[in-house]
């Protein structure tokens, strides 16, 4: 393989020295923006009257050889006001340039490079922190919600610090990860959940360790042209996060931010009270031919207690966040420093998330050739968690189900524990006890740090090297006392308390080395080239220990456990070695082209497939620069774009290609048992992507429109191909099958009014994505999701259907004569069996979007963000328990149960209740609902104190605001919240509500002072 590298670098060396060795004086300098003091790449610097020129590099730097003193330099760039500067006898000429048209001059980070938006030929969406500064987002992925076309963000629940699903242009994969690649300051950081313990569905979010207020910009790379530089990891899109840096030429500013507020569940489930439930249960028992009195369901006795369990476990949470930051610098040195504290109480008792962060960035330009710097993010979070969702001993999940006939506390005010004769038995556990008694705390700490150096070897040929580490430590400290389900009820697990303690370290080391060379050929042919080499090595180390049989509940650490019989330690290494390159070309900013490629070797691929190439190409045509377009004077800019290329997904798990045997035990001895079948050809999933689009700007930037359409096809899908068990194995890892994504995206930004001090602007983004499994190993359905009554599973993967397709019986209604459910007898065999299962819907929306309006007038500002989803189904799987037609009487029922069939002739959609009859409760389309919604995601009213008032006290600005998040949701979904996913992060089983905690509403007041 090494030969391939030599060849690659040989070619690069041939390309590099296109160097005009002209005689004369060398001038260098940096171009920065007047607006924010940041360097501007892609500005043309031309010696006036000649064709000698260059464009500024990623850091705004340029070097130019000029004929002699008093040369006039011309600085031009579409979207910036051109400048002519007489260099005199200076050798360093720094220039500050001013924007003319919004957006075009915006600096966009494109991976290993940066450029101005005007020069982009691919599809890249930028989200600036302005868009989410009022929303109390815990993590930057949440900040993308409703802000970017083609990016679908779904928060799995209202758990603080909890997980989200982020999808860029749909789902490409069945078995491998569907998460985009998240890069923070050049490092692919840990994503998803960091902790290992299962809490029933909801997980933690690694990104919650970053303070979103330290972020300068977020870029989402969406098409092959933009992404291919990330090669085998790019198929699901790339999200580039850049933290704040200092600004040159500005005085040091200090910013203090305070936010305080309250959180509350957005809507409570509507459950029956004791009397209503008793009547229902008596009816169910009677219908089953039994005597309800004999079963202890006695009117006036059983319903003597009426507990609203949801009320008992929920509360109003207090939210608070404080931040202090300093930012400043001069031409040579810039810095940013900040510290923050955030504390968010969950709406469930004993649930909360607390975070401390520190952020530092430093850049130094030592000489005109050498610069260096560092970035450091350090953070620490404490997450107090509670169980939920699929767990019988969950808090919110337990509360919805619990029978109102029982109280949480006895007469002495003590909590009822499991096995208490005065409390409902299995499957009910006192949810108040389950909330307050266990200790589930995870401590996560992150250190993300990098140092870089950059040297200009010859004019405009810059070598940059950066070494970074992303170091995460996770400690999980859990104990369940004997008064809880696990610690007390399940003797095989706990009996007398159950503790587990684990520690995991996730460390990624990455070395990135790039050579960038900008040059211009006579006649406005500008080239910007980059080649790089990167080595990434990740190590995961973990250990845990579990103990039980504690002397009493006063002893909660494993040191005191009577039996310590479960433990584990583990080490996992993985790595990636890559070479990549990029050539950008433009002619007079009118015809643009980009070629990008990456050559990746990954430890995850089979021996015969260790390396792969991921190329892409794109072109753009700035139509508005053509002479024949000059008469359309309202049109400021119009650029047509097209791209094509290949990306990969290497997150297919480690060692999947090996045929392996793993340790097994038998009667106290240890041996080896077969574990997996070999496949030396196992490789990345490959996505072929095509994109066309345009960017247009009208009326001096008051209206800008971006439209993109794409057609992506992922093949070589990683798939644990199910094979007959007669082989001794259930599956073999292979690359089989195809998934397609097609879609259209629209972004419109307008300034509707801008006069008399009133400014009203609007941002709209809409995305449509059509996902389809094109081909699988066979046309047989592959079942996923929860096991279900009457059919095998809740979800199915089936060619021709999208991922996230729901499976079940088709519910045709309730027979008015008998009150029984009628299902579609699909195979016509006269009875209802699992073979009658069919596709009943899917969880993927037809349309998602966000709509922001901002109005400002004399320091008062109002902004409203609407966010929504249309055309997706939700599986209300909770109702298989909460509207169960009497399958059991161990659980409370929703109010809808009152609409049940009771007598002949009743027309209703709720079948007859009959104890023990599971037929009426078969998994069917009865539980599937329309999940479309529109939500007032955020409403903020702010007031900037007049400048003359604040400057008197030495301050630059003072802003008060009030912000409401998740204020109102318009939906037809009958559950509390349409935006839930009990299987946090799942693709094939997304959009299932299974006792999932709804989102929370946050109302807060904020104060921001700059001085």
């Amino acid at each position: 393989m090494r030969n391939n590298y030599r060849l690659f670098w040989g070619i690069l060396l041939l390309l590099a020295p296109v160097q005009l060795l002209a005689q004369g004086l060398r001038i260098s300098g940096r171009v920065t923006s007047e607006q924010d003091g940041q360097p501007v790449p892609g500005v043309n610097v031309v010696v006036k009257g000649t064709t000698t020129g260059i464009s500024t590099d990623a850091s705004g730097n340029y070097s130019l050889t000029v004929p002699g003193a008093n040369t006039v330099l011309l600085f031009t760039s579409i979207g910036l006001v051109s400048q002519e500067i007489n260099a005199g006898n200076r050798t360093v000429v720094n220039v500050v340039m001013k924007e003319t048209v919004n957006e075009l001059a915006q600096v966009v980070v494109t991976g290993y490079n940066t450029t101005q938006r005007k020069d982009i030929t691919g599809s890249v969406t930028s989200v600036s922190p302005d868009k989410f500064k009022n929303i109390p987002v815990a993590s930057f992925d949440q900040a993308l919600q409703g802000q970017a076309a083609g990016v679908q963000v779904t928060q799995s629940s209202g758990t603080p610090g909890g997980g989200l699903t982020v999808r860029v242009r749909g789902n490409t994969s069945i078995s491998a990860s569907n998460r985009p690649l998240f890069i923070v300051d050049g490092v692919p950081v840990e994503d998803g959940n960091l902790t290992g313990r299962d809490f029933g569905g909801q997980q933690d979010n690694a990104f919650a360790l970053f303070n979103p207020n330290d972020i300068e910009s977020i870029e989402v790379l969406k098409d092959a042209s933009a992404k291919a530089i990330y090669g085998s990891r790019a198929a699901n899109g790339v999200v580039l996060v850049t933290t704040k840096r200092g600004r040159s030429g500005q005085k040091t500013t200090f910013t203090a931010d305070v936010q305080r507020g309250l959180t509350e569940i957005i809507r409570r489930p509507d459950m029956l009270n004791a009397t209503e439930l008793l009547e229902l249960q008596r009816e169910a028992v009677t219908n089953a031919g039994q005597d309800p009195d004999q079963r202890g369901l006695i009117k006036g006795v059983t319903d003597g207690v009426n507990t609203d369990w949801v009320d008992e476990v929920l509360r109003r949470g207090v939210y608070q966040q404080y931040q202090l930051s300093a930012q400043g610098g001069n031409d040579k040195t810039q810095f940013y420093l900040s510290g923050s504290y955030r504390d968010e109480q969950g709406v469930q008792l004993n649930n909360g998330f607390t975070r401390y962060t520190a952020q530092f960035k430093f850049d130094q330009k030592a000489t005109s050739k050498l610069s260096f710097g560092a970035n450091i993010t350090a953070s620490y979070a404490k997450n107090k968690r509670v169980k939920g969702d699929n767990f019988l001993d969950g808090v919110y999940s337990g509360a919805i189900k619990s029978l109102p006939y029982y109280a949480p506390y006895n007469e002495q005010g003590r909590l009822y524990g499991p096995n208490d004769p005065n409390y409902a038995g299995f499957p009910n556990f006192n949810p108040v006890g389950q909330a307050v008694l266990p200790r589930f705390v995870s401590y996560t700490a992150k250190f993300l740090g990098g140092v870089y150096g950059e040297y200009e070897i010859i004019p405009n040929l810059r070598f940059r090297t950066k070494a970074s580490v992303d170091y995460n430590n996770i400690t999980e400290d859990n104990f369940e006392p004997s008064s809880t389900a696990i610690g007390g009820f399940l003797e095989s697990v706990g009996g007398q308390g159950y503790g587990d303690f684990s520690n995991t370290t996730l460390a990624t080391l990455i070395s990135t080395n790039t050579l960038a060379y900008n040059f211009q050929l006579p006649g406005k042919h500008r080239f910007s080239t980059l080649a790089g080499f990167e080595v990434l090595s990740r190590q995961q180390r973990s250990n845990n220990v579990q103990g039980r049989l504690f002397p009493s509940d006063d002893f909660t650490y494993i040191r005191s456990a009577g039996v310590v019989d479960q433990g584990d330690s583990y080490l996992l290494n993985s790595g990636l070695i890559s070479t990549f390159g990029e050539v950008r070309y433009d002619y007079d900013e009118k015809y643009l082209a980009t070629i990008t490629a990456r050559y990746d070797g990954s430890s995850r691929f089979g021996k015969d497939r260790q390396f792969g190439v991921f190329p892409s190409a794109s072109v753009a045509w700035r139509l508005s620069s053509e002479p024949f377009m000059q008469r359309f004077r309202f049109l400021n800019d119009l650029k047509l774009r097209a791209s094509y290329g290949f990306t990969g997904n290497e997150r297919i798990g480690d060692f999947q290609f090996l045929g392996t045997w793993a340790s097994v035990t038998y009667s106290g001895s240890t041996g080896v048992g077969p574990s997996a079948l070999v496949n030396p050809l196992l490789q990345w999933e490959r996505t072929r992507e095509a994109n066309i689009g345009f960017d247009a700007s009208f009326l001096n930037g008051r209206l800008s429109v971006t439209v993109d359409a794409y057609d992506n096809l992922t093949d070589n899908l990683l798939f644990a191909q199910p094979i007959p068990l007669t082989t001794g194995f259930g599956s073999v890892q292979g690359n089989i099958g195809k998934v397609g994504n097609r879609g259209v995206e629209l972004t419109i930004s307008t300034v509707n009014i801008d006069r008399g001090g009133i400014r009203w602007s609007t941002d709209l983004n809409l995305s449509h994505n059509q996902n389809k499994v094109v081909e699988l190993v066979s046309n047989e359905p592959i079942f996923r999701g929860y096991t279900a009554d009457g059919v095998s599973r809740t979800n199915v993967i089936l060619p021709g259907q999208p991922l996230g397709t729901f499976w079940g019986l088709k519910f045709l209604g309730v027979d008015p004569a008998t009150g029984n459910a009628i299902y579609d007898d699909k195979n016509g065999d006269g009875r209802i069996s699992p073979e009658d299962g069919q596709v009943i819907g899917n969880a993927q929306p037809k349309l998602t979007g966000g709509f922001t309006n901002r109005v400002s007038w004399k320091g008062i500002e109002l902004s409203v963000l609407l966010q929504g989803s249309y055309g997706n189904s939700i599986l209300n799987f909770s109702n298989t328990t909460l509207l169960n037609a009497g399958a059991d009487i161990e659980n409370n029922q929703t109010r809808k149960a009152l609409q049940r069939w009771r007598k002949e002739g009743d027309i209703t959609s709720v079948p007859r209740y009959e104890l023990g009859n599971s037929y009426n409760n078969y998994h069917s389309s009865r539980f599937l609902e329309d999940g479309s919604f529109v939500r007032i995601k955020n409403l903020t009213v702010g007031y900037n104190l007049p400048r003359q008032w604040v400057t008197r006290y030495g301050m630059t600005s003072v802003r008060f605001y009030a912000s409401a998040t998740n204020l109102y949701t318009l939906t037809r979904y009958s559950g509390p919240d349409p935006e839930v996913s009990t299987l946090d992060g799942s693709t094939v089983s997304q959009g299932i509500d299974f006792f999932t905690l709804p989102q929370v509403k946050t109302i807060l007041g904020g104060l921001s002072i700059v001085f």
Binding site: A16, P17, S574, V672, P724, L725, S792
Partner: protein, 458 residues
């Protein structure tokens, strides 16, 4: 320009680290090529085979007892609801688990039978013993397979391509292969001396008597009464196993003296709360509880101390929950989480049944004498029946008292032709299709040779 070259050279040098970055070693896995190629590898792989056998145990108990009239549903899992309500479907995951575990056992056995003869340097005695064990395991798995699912694919190699597309073989052919494998095993398994108290040789691993016991069961199912009587008699007479004085020890202890084959768990590999963990199903979650009918049977004087099989807790008594739980599968720390696949009492019952069927009713070599051995131990009144039909039924009842929740009931009812009569009285949903389990739905879908070949009625 020179510096560019230096950098390039540097980068090329750093490529030397490629190997460690791109080819890390797994720490918890052994690759195929290394698993069985030297004498030291034999023991680990042999243990892997026993582990595979252990993997079949819990689902076999579930098949034998949950399919029949022993249990009622008391939990939340669909699988168990299907067993409780007698609405078993091809999608039931235990149906799939047992099938997979049986063929996993057959795979490891075949792997050993194919590979071990070619491994140089293995002592001949070890080679013979492990090959014999592999024959036994394959026979055991096929025997359970064919009595659970009917005609099943006969897998005799590790060839992936062949085993992916393999049709059903008639039960008679499967049984012939079972007999051949048992006989091959019997020849080479080590003999254990009478009076041995070593649980490792007696019950943990296979010996000649284990194979005789399995053959006794085999002949019983074949209604080859003479052979069944002989082989059960050989095991009883071997002197290796002895009935425990107290039946409660059989219920509450691991590795009693009467265990002939017992798959063991320790504290660290206890199946805990997994879906097929018997302790979790029967005690932890109480997904299924003893049926009222079985409780009546087991608490009768006729059962004697075998009422210890189940226990009552008043706190559980509510709703449809009768408050009773099965006690035979405890936890690791109670030293009661093993699964007994064969024990001496079954040999008495096999011999009793074989004798009864041959008309040997009374006297020291009669069926009644065998039954009374067990009844005496259980402090149950001795029986003195003389009519053959009565004694055959007495054996059936005695098997309930003695072997409840050891995985026999459903197989017994089906092999004696009593299933329809007994089960129809127990559950209105029972139909004759439940005399076999369905082939797992996924197997029908993924194995082309099984397409459309589901058992009747499913």
């Amino acid at each position: 320009m020179r510096s560019v070259r230096y950098i390039t050279v540097l980068l090329l040098v750093s490529l030397a680290s490629c190997q460690t970055v791109l080819e890390p070693d797994p720490v918890d896995l052994l690759v195929d090529e290394l698993v069985l190629n030297e004498p030291n590898d034999v023991q680990p792989v042999r243990l892997g085979m026993y582990n595979a056998l252990r993997g079949t145990a819990a689902s076999t108990i579930i098949a034998g007892d949950f399919t029949a009239d022993y249990i009622q549903f008391n939990g939340t899992f669909t699988d168990n609801r299907e067993f409780g309500n007698k609405q078993i479907t091809a999608a039931n995951s235990v149906v799939n688990t047992l099938w997979g575990a049986l063929y996993r056992t057959i795979y490891v056995a075949n792997f050993i039978l194919e590979t071990l003869p070619g491994v140089a340097g293995v002592p001949e005695s070890t080679r013979k013993q492990v090959l014999a064990e592999a024959h036994f395991m394959r026979a055991w798995a096929n025997f359970i397979g064919t009595y659970t699912y009917g005609d099943i694919p006969q897998v005799t190699s590790t060839n992936q391509a062949a085993n992916r597309n393999i049709g059903r073989t008639a039960r008679a052919t499967i049984l012939a292969s079972v007999l051949a494998d048992y006989q091959a095993a019997l020849a080479d398994l080590p003999a254990v001396a009478a009076g041995s108290t070593n649980v490792t040789t007696n019950a943990t691993y296979l010996n000649k008597a284990t194979c005789q016991a399995a053959l006794a069961r085999f002949y019983l199912y074949q209604r080859n009464w003479a052979q069944a009587e002989t082989l059960a008699g050989q095991v009883i007479a071997s002197g290796i196993y002895a009935l425990e004085t107290n039946y409660s020890d059989v219920v509450l202890k691991d590795f009693t003296r009467e265990s002939i084959l017992e798959v063991g768990y320790s504290l660290s590999d206890d199946p805990g709360t997994t879906a097929t963990s018997l302790n979790n199903l029967l005690v932890g979650r109480r997904e299924v509880i003893p049926s009222n009918q079985l409780i009546t049977t087991l608490v009768s004087t006729e059962a004697g101390t075998r009422r210890e099989t189940i226990g009552f807790n008043v706190q559980n008594l509510r709703g449809s929950d009768n408050g009773w739980s099965v006690r035979k599968y405890g936890t690791a720390s109670e030293d009661n989480n093993n699964i007994v696949l064969m024990r001496l009492a079954e040999m008495y019952l096999i011999r009793a049944e074989a004798r009864a069927q041959q008309g040997k009713i009374t006297g020291a070599a009669g069926a009644v004498a065998d039954l009374n051995v067990l009844r005496t131990r259980a402090n149950a009144p001795a029986i003195a029946l003389t009519a053959q039909a009565d004694v055959v039924l007495a054996v059936e009842r005695e098997r309930v008292y003695e072997l409840a929740f050891e995985g026999h009931r459903w197989y017994d009812l089906v092999r004696t032709g009593r299933a329809q009569a007994v089960m129809s009285a127990f559950s209105p949903n029972w139909t004759s299709r439940f005399e076999l389990w369905p082939i797992p739905q996924s197997e029908i879908q993924q194995n082309p040779a099984l397409a459309g070949k589901q058992n009747p009625g499913y």
